[in-house]
Every structure is written in C-alpha cells, then in structure tokens.
C-alpha cells in the first residue's frame, strides 16, 4: 500500500480531526470507534475531534476485553464485533409492501431505503476484503440487489493498517491483511506522531488534496511498511492453505465434525459477526389493520432451526450438519461460487464464540490426513 507510493502524505496526529472535518463538510455522516456494552462499535462522531484515543482490546477464543493502549494511539484496537457489513447489507431491510385497496385489489410497492452518505473511519483490511466478497454476492451482474447497491454506493471508507493484530487474527494467512491493499478511499498507517496517508480512489485523492498534507518522508513510508510486516509476522493463527476446497470436501464424514458439534451451541454468533456471511430470511410484517403488510429481509444464520427447513423435514437437522455447512461454505464451496475462500481472517468467529471454538484449529484437524477415518 505505502511502499513505492509517490503520493503518500503525512497527517500529524493533531490534524486527524481536519480529515474528519473535511468529510463532514462533504456531508458525510462520519462513523468511528465508540465503546458500547464493553465492545468497540462504529458510531456517528459528534464532532471532528471526537475520535477516541487509547482504546485497545485483548482477544482470545471466547474472549473480548477492552484495555488501554499504553501509547495512546487512535487505532491500536483490533476489530470489534462489526464494522462495514451492516452498513451495506442491512441487518433488517424492507423490500416491498403489499396493500389491498378499497376494491380488494392487491398492490405491491417496492421500498427504497434511505441511505445517507456514510464515512467509516478506521476500517481494516480484512473488512475491505469481506466487503469485496459481499459485493461479489449482492452485485452480481445477472441479478444485482438494489437495496445493497444503494447503501454500498454511499460508503466512503477510511482504512487503517493494523499495527497490532489481535491474538485471534489470521488475515496474513488468508492474504487479506493486515495492511489494506484495495477497496478504500483513503488508507492510514499510524506512526507514533501521525499517519502515512494514501488515497485509493479519485474522491479519496480529492479529500487529501484539499488538506495540503506534507509528503511522507521515505523513512515514514519505510516505517509504515515495516509495521505492516511486523504485524503480519506476529500472527500466530493461520489457515493451512488458501484453497482448502478439495481437502475439506473429501473430509465430509471426518469424526472431528462430531467432536466440534458436541461443543458448538449452534447459537449463530459466528455467523452474526462474520463480515462475509450473507444468508438472510424474508419475512412478512403485517400491519394491524389487515390491509397492508411489509416484506422484510433480516439476517439469518445457517445454525438456526429454520435455515434448512423444508415442509416436513429439515435438510440439516443437527448441529453437526449445521457447523459443517458453515465451515464448508466459508472455506470450500465459496471457491465454487466466488473464486476464493469466504474467510478473510478477521478472527471474529473465534473471539465471539461463547465456547471458544477456533475455526483455524478445526480446519487443521479436518485437513490433516492422519486423522481421516
């Protein structure tokens, strides 16, 4: 990202608020990190200088805890439960309404969402990669999703390089981080006194140009690159390959599925925090008057009873088949659908699993030939 960039600028810490101010002046609602219920979430900033400093987290299987960054940086924290996904693929989206008029005729009306222009400040490389996967799913040429497209077009993304990945992160092994490569409007790498700053889109370049930043020095660029490399090297977790399709598809009856099913609560937390999961249910919300009803889509999970429900039987009746569906889809059949794995190494499914199931550990067992039945 930063290496060899002729256009990298340097944004001193004390001027970060002027970047936010520039975006606010362009009528973006700016979202940045905020602490809510003990976790970092993206919330609207009340003022250009409202970005918090010093937030950090400790993450481990089944564990997420806020701490204090001794260096008081802006972006020392690693990902909270959610970042970009809810802002393009809304957790609840009205699709259309049905009304019965006075003559008893049915009328259907499409619902177009209000989608304000949003600038997300502090998104990470894994989530940019996840957004590209969501784009591939929702914006397929044959059947693009209008609701997703409208929200997506309104996003301005300010990415940040992860300097200190969490213990559950493994984006280096999926090739998606910790330094952002693509998909951002502006990317930042935080150094002790400020940010090496590059644009990734014409509108990002416009914003940076208007700020008249000093060019980043070769030393600063080198420091940012080195920081990314150190962050990648520090990751302990990894997937045993980028294309596990064939290895996993030949392990569908592996005894490990029973072992993991015995631990899994089928709560669906992993699917709720996963930045690439796209399953959703379509439900009706009838009005009390009986003359109108809304048709809404809501996030759904393959761990739920209703996901595989078919009249009279359930395609995936037990936790073993549901966990297997989640993992096989994410790491194997996603290749068939979208030409790569559906996992970007964000590690959320590990941190937010109440019993601490570690996807990377499960995969390692599943693809190791010694344990094959």
């Amino acid at each position: 990202m930063f290496c060899g960039s002729d256009h990298a600028g340097f944004l001193p810490h004390e001027q970060l608020s002027s970047l936010v101010a520039s975006l606010m002046a362009l009528r973006y609602r700016c979202l940045g990190p905020a602490v809510e219920n003990g976790a970092i979430v993206m919330r609207e900033l009340s003022a250009p200088d409202a970005l918090p400093r010093g937030l950090q987290t400790v993450q481990a299987p089944g564990r997420y805890q806020l701490t204090q960054d001794p260096h008081n940086r802006y972006f020392a924290w690693t990902n909270g439960p959610q970042a970009i996904k809810p802002h393009a693929f809304a957790p609840e989206e009205s699709l259309w309404r049905a009304e019965r008029n006075e003559q008893g005729r049915l009328q259907f009306k499409a619902v177009e969402p209000e989608a304000p222009a949003l600038a997300l400040i502090g998104v990470r490389a894994c989530d940019l990669a996840a957004l590209a996967l969501q784009d591939a799913h929702f914006l397929r040429e044959t059947q693009p999703d209008a609701h997703y497209a409208k929200r997506r077009a309104q996003l301005f993304l300010v990415a940040v390089q992860c300097a200190e990945p969490g213990a559950t992160c493994f984006c280096a092994s999926t090739g998606d981080g910790p330094t952002p490569h693509a998909g951002y409007d502006i990317a930042l790498a935080e150094l002790p006194d400020g940010f090496v700053t590059v644009a990734g889109s014409p509108r990002g370049a416009e914003v940076l140009k208007s700020m008249n930043l000093q060019p980043a020095t070769p030393n600063q660029i080198e420091a940012a690159e080195q920081q990314g490399q150190t962050a990648a090297d520090s990751q302990k977790r990894r997937l045993p390959g980028r294309n596990l399709r064939d290895a996993l598809m030949s392990s569908l009856e592996h005894p490990e599925w029973d072992k993991v099913a015995a631990r899994c609560l089928a709560c669906g937390n992993c699917t709720a925090v996963c930045p690439t999961c796209f399953c959703h249910a379509e439900v009706d919300e009838p009005g009390l008057g009986g003359h109108e009803t809304g048709h809404v889509r809501v996030w759904d999970s393959c761990f739920g009873e209703s996901h595989g429900h078919l009249h009279g039987f359930n395609v995936r009746p037990d936790t073993r088949s549901r966990y297997r569906q989640w993992l096989i889809h994410k790491l194997a059949t996603w290749h068939d659908q979208y030409g790569r794995s559906g996992c970007v190494g964000c590690g959320r499914c590990i941190s937010w699993c109440p019993v601490g199931i570690d996807l990377t550990e499960e995969v390692a067992v599943l693809v190791s030939s010694e344990e094959q039945p």
């Binding site: 005729r105 049915l106 259907f108 693009p144 959703h280 759904d300 429900h309 078919l310 569906q325």
Partner: protein, 282 residues
C-alpha cells in the same frame, strides 16, 4: 459503483385464482391468472421452473409450475397443504387474489431430449413438476421415443390423478409403473418400492434420458439402478427441493454445496449433485 439495479426486480404481481381442484385430502391445484393482462400475455416458463406464491401477510413459498408452457391462459400449481403458507393457500377460492413472482430457476432440457426414450421417476408429490413434463411430451408425442412413467407413493391415498395414470397406460409406447409402500383396498398397482419396478421398464439405455423428482433417497436409489442398466450419468436429470426464500440465489437457504438450487437448479444433471447427495445434511 454504478450497478443498474431495480428495486422492483423481485416484486410480486397480483394473480387471481381461476380454478381450484382438491386432488386428495391434502393436495390441491390452483389455476392462476395474472391480473395484468399484458403481464399474463408476456408470461413464459419452461417445465421444471417454479414461481414464488405469496399469501398476503403470511409469506412466500416456492411452488413448481405444473401447467403446459404453451397454455397461455393460466398458470397451474399443485400444492400440498403442509406449512403456514400452503395451508393458507389451500383456503383460497376462485376469485381470491394472491401474489406471484417468477418463473425462476432452470427447467428440464426438454428440447435436447427430443428423439430419446424418456424415463420419468417420481416420488410422492414429486409428480407435480414431472406431470407437466408428461403433458408436454404427450402433446408433442412424435418428437420423443418410448415413455416410461415410474411413480412411487408412501400410501395409496397419496396417489393423485389416478384416472390420468390409467389412461396413460393405454397409450402406445407408454408404460406406467406405479407402486405404493402401503397398499389399500382396490389398489390396482404394485405394493412395495417404486425402484422394484425398474426391471420391468422398457427403454434403450443407448438413447434414453431419465428425469427424476421426489425424495432424495428414492432418487439416489433410482439413479443407481438406471446407471446399472447402462444409462449414462449425463442422461439422468433430477429436480431438487430446498428452502427457498429469495429465488434469485441471494438468501443462501437453498445452498447445496456451492450450488444455489433456486438459480443453478432446481433441475440438475445427476453428475452435478451426485457426490453431494452421498452425504446426509449437506
């Protein structure tokens, strides 16, 4: 990001029940017509495709189309009253309105099958999408070879359209093999598995093609027998059933391996899905 996307791309159209037939205590057929005359005139589908039927305030359900594709006046659906939506649909009367969007999915490649012997394997209500194939072939009889209809049901009372089957059995070059797991008084056909009857089926594996629809266990067993009799895998097709909510490959419920059944199917070639169906719960 400039993607042309229409908010009304998946909007249902208003349809009216023109005729309702009770086929069995739980199975009924609705003949529907789109209220917008232009939409009805423009509506085209292939046998094996399905519509999303919408009951106001309750929800949608995917139902295959059983009428003839060249019958431009109405769109037929045979439905078992089983879940929330289908039980509601069962209560509709002629003149009632509902929503319809479709057709969706890939149908049977019937034109590629011309000139071949046809073997139809149907289980339970799997007969609905394949019965439309029978009608289609009978109306274009000279384009196809021998026709073998194998139908299995769990119980004799599940057997609908009996007169129709009896009539087909009298047609030239047409063989009807029916079996029920449990018989009943005056049951004229075989008691046992439909797959028991394959030994009687007369078709030439060198130029036959099979189409299957029904429970997955039955289709797997049938495919094994058919390939055992020399029918190449590439000449076996089946229609799959999965939970479908969006019908456009988006909601994720119908996934079968990397396939979206609603969009890549519901009709598949046996070779596409064979290895997946070997595993329960995929």
């Amino acid at each position: 990001m400039n993607v042309p996307a229409a908010f009304d791309a998946c909007l249902p159209m208003e349809a009216m029940v023109v005729e309702r037939t009770q086929e069995s205590p739980t199975i009924f057929t609705l003949q529907l017509r789109l209220n917008d005359a232009a939409a009805q005139a423009a509506y085209r589908f292939k046998p094996g495709q399905f519509n999303m039927l919408y009951l106001v305030g309750v929800g949608e359900v995917a139902i295959s189309i059983m009428s003839d594709p060249e019958d431009l006046h109405w769109i037929g659906h045979t439905i078992r009253a089983q879940g929330r939506v289908t039980q509601g649909l069962a209560a509709l009367k002629p003149g009632d309105s509902l929503g319809l969007r479709g057709p969706y999915g890939r149908g049977w490649p019937l034109q590629e099958m011309e000139g071949r012997d046809i073997v139809l394997v149907m289980g339970g209500l799997g007969c609905a999408p394949t019965v439309s194939v029978i009608h289609y072939i009978l109306r274009r009889r000279s384009r196809y070879g021998k026709l073998t209809i194998v139908q299995g049901v769990k119980h004799a009372k599940d057997m609908i359209w009996r007169e129709q089957y009896a009539r087909w059995a009298t047609l030239p070059d047409t063989q009807v093999l029916v079996a029920s797991d449990e018989g009943a008084a005056l049951w004229p056909w075989h008691v046992g598995r439909a797959t028991d009857l394959f030994t009687q089926a007369r078709f030439n594996p060198d130029y036959a093609v099979a189409m299957m629809c029904g429970p997955e266990g039955m289709m797997r067993a049938a495919a094994e027998i058919l390939t055992g009799r020399g029918l190449p895998e590439a000449q076996i097709y089946l229609s799959m059933e999965r939970n479908m909510q969006c019908a456009v490959g988006r909601c994720g419920h119908c996934q079968l391996g990397g396939l979206f059944v609603c969009q890549d199917g519901p009709v598949f070639n046996w070779g596409q899905v064979k290895s997946l169906l070997e595993h329960r719960g995929v």
